[in-house]
Subunit: 312 residues, 2 copies
DNA sequence: ATTCATATTTTGTCCTGGACAAAATGTTGA
DNA sequence: TCAACATTTTGTCCAGGACAAAATATGAAT
């Protein structure tokens, strides 16, 4: 039941897409470390065997976790997998019942039981309310899904399925609560270019809308200049940006500093997500959230510091 | 109110991100056509002035429309803009009242009046019902937004704003109608890798769910093999794939042929979107939709051809 | 005149191997 | 513990040659 004859390996462009490693990087690794060592087709072009691509994927994930290529490239795939396994960060929930529930949900994801997945999430949402649902369920679940993905226990379709279902749930819940347009503060949400993960944004929105904030999301991947311009033109009080674990911290810091300058001093810059936590002290005048639970409290503080104007 | 001193131009990587033109392509154009002609920094690296990047963006859009680089690179930006203007495809709606309504909505997008935008879309949705809303409002509106974007009348944030609002509306509407899990047929929706546009998928879902189909969306960018595997494992009756205008037709055709083979003969392959219309005859055994309006009828035909089994 | 097969041009991607700056790490001294 | 400096690691850039796939032009045959 194989596909066909020739494609017994991937081109360098395909490997770039699959692993996220730039063509230049693939070539320079080969030159320096002797790995990967792709075959060549009749045309002298690289043809990467599947097992080397798998190993590259593992290496990529470990690099994203902060390890360095030279230490990884020589290792066996099994050793790499072990490293990956040791890196799981999600500590099991304190509440064993809740913890078991999460395992069940993860099982639904693994088995593509979208209907069961939808139903269990929906029930939890109904039971806990939007804010607690995000803080107590989605936050840890995301970590678990992320860890599972890291160690290769989940494939692309499973991850997509989870994301879609959560997105549906959150968008519906947010729509139904949409605050009056006069809500305060006015918050602009988005991510930087190259950051595709929309869940963080939605979760933030779900935390803030019930507090009466007026949230406008631009979705993912807004160029820096456009964020600045949109924030000014729309007279927003706060710009909120989210970063997933894979986002290079360097890019985030540079971009945030530049954005911080571009926004007026009256506009708050709130950021969060695994890609940025712990960088707080390097970001003056930027509010860095270690956990999404802090958002409601932060909103309340903002309100105290910015009493509503008399009324226009 | 400029940013700072040094960045009076973009690096080749930044231009790649901004224009979608590969670094190799940028360098080879420079070598062959003498354009772009970037300055060099102290390090000998290319620094592209903003006006050249703007022209590159125009060229890129025209190439996506089927024109060829050699004919474009010599032209003045004004001439390029004219070409772009002549390419608008959306003929004004037959109904003048409706047409005026669309213009109003577009104005809201342009002015970032998210609240008004949301309200007008919501009203139309309520008035027309989900299916007619998608077919009679969103389809033409998408064309208008696409055209405006093409000729540079809309920027990134406006386009994002529109997409987000529509997505919120559609997801909420779909959730509220979600069919019983036993719905037929079982439809798997997704896009190919490198295709980021999710609206087509949502619109398709919105057309099918009210007909009682059981739709599972994987969101955008699922690798081909994963689509095949997911379709088999989930015993889907139909796989639906959508292509935006910018998607290279070649990639779409190749991918679809390969996917067609990979799916069993009992699984339907339904495709649509501006990137694929008109290619129908090159795709045997693939159902190509010229308009999203055809979906409900196609579902009914499918049901006739596949009478429900006795009941398990 | 339309379709089909074959030449020609255009165009994007790949190649090698050298270079260099930014980031990470190691070292030293307060 | 922190700061300043030296060293290594690492990713990205460059030039300029090559080639195959796509697009177009040319010609033959229906």
């Amino acid at each position: 039941m194989n596909t066909s004859l020739p494609p017994s390996g991937l081109s360098i462009a395909a490997v770039e897409r699959d692993t996220g490693l730039a063509k230049d990087t693939l070539r320079v690794w080969e030159r320096r470390y002797g790995f990967p060592a792709p075959a060549r087709d009749s045309n002298g072009e690289r043809v990467y065997p599947a097992d080397q691509v798998d190993k590259l994927r593992l290496i990529r994930r470990l690099i994203d976790q902060g390890l360095r290529p030279a230490k990884l490239i020589g290792l066996e795939p099994t050793a790499l997998s072990e490293l990956l396994g040791g890196l799981g960060t999600a500590q099991p929930s304190a509440d064993p019942a809740r913890s078991a529930q999460f395992e069940t949900i993860l099982k639904f994801v693994r088995l593509h039981l979208h209907e069961d997945l939808r139903r269990s999430l929906q029930q939890l949402l109904m039971k806990l309310g939007l804010q607690r649902f995000v803080g107590e369920v989605l936050a840890p679940l995301n970590m678990m899904v992320g860890d599972a993905w890291l160690r290769g226990e989940l494939e692309v379709p499973e991850e997509h399925l989870y994301t879609e279902q959560v997105q549906n749930l959150l968008r519906a819940a947010i729509s139904s609560q949409a605050a009056a347009s006069a809500g305060r503060p006015r918050v602009l949400l988005t991510t930087f270019p190259d950051e595709q993960h929309a869940l963080g944004l939605l979760m933030a929105e779900a935390m803030m809308v019930p507090e009466g904030a007026c949230c406008i999301s631009l979705g993912t991947q807004t160029p820096l200049d456009d964020i600045r311009n949109a924030a000014r033109a729309g007279r927003f009080d706060i710009v909120a940006v989210s970063f997933s674990a894979a986002f290079p911290a360097r890019l985030a810091l540079d971009g945030l500093r530049s954005l911080r300058e571009g926004l007026g001093p009256d506009t708050g810059l709130w950021v969060g997500g695994a890609g940025i936590t712990g960088q707080a002290r390097k970001l003056p005048n930027v509010q860095v959230f270690a956990s999404i639970d802090e958002l409601p409290e932060a909103l309340r503080s903002w309100r105290e510091a910015h009493p509503a104007p008399d009324r226009a």
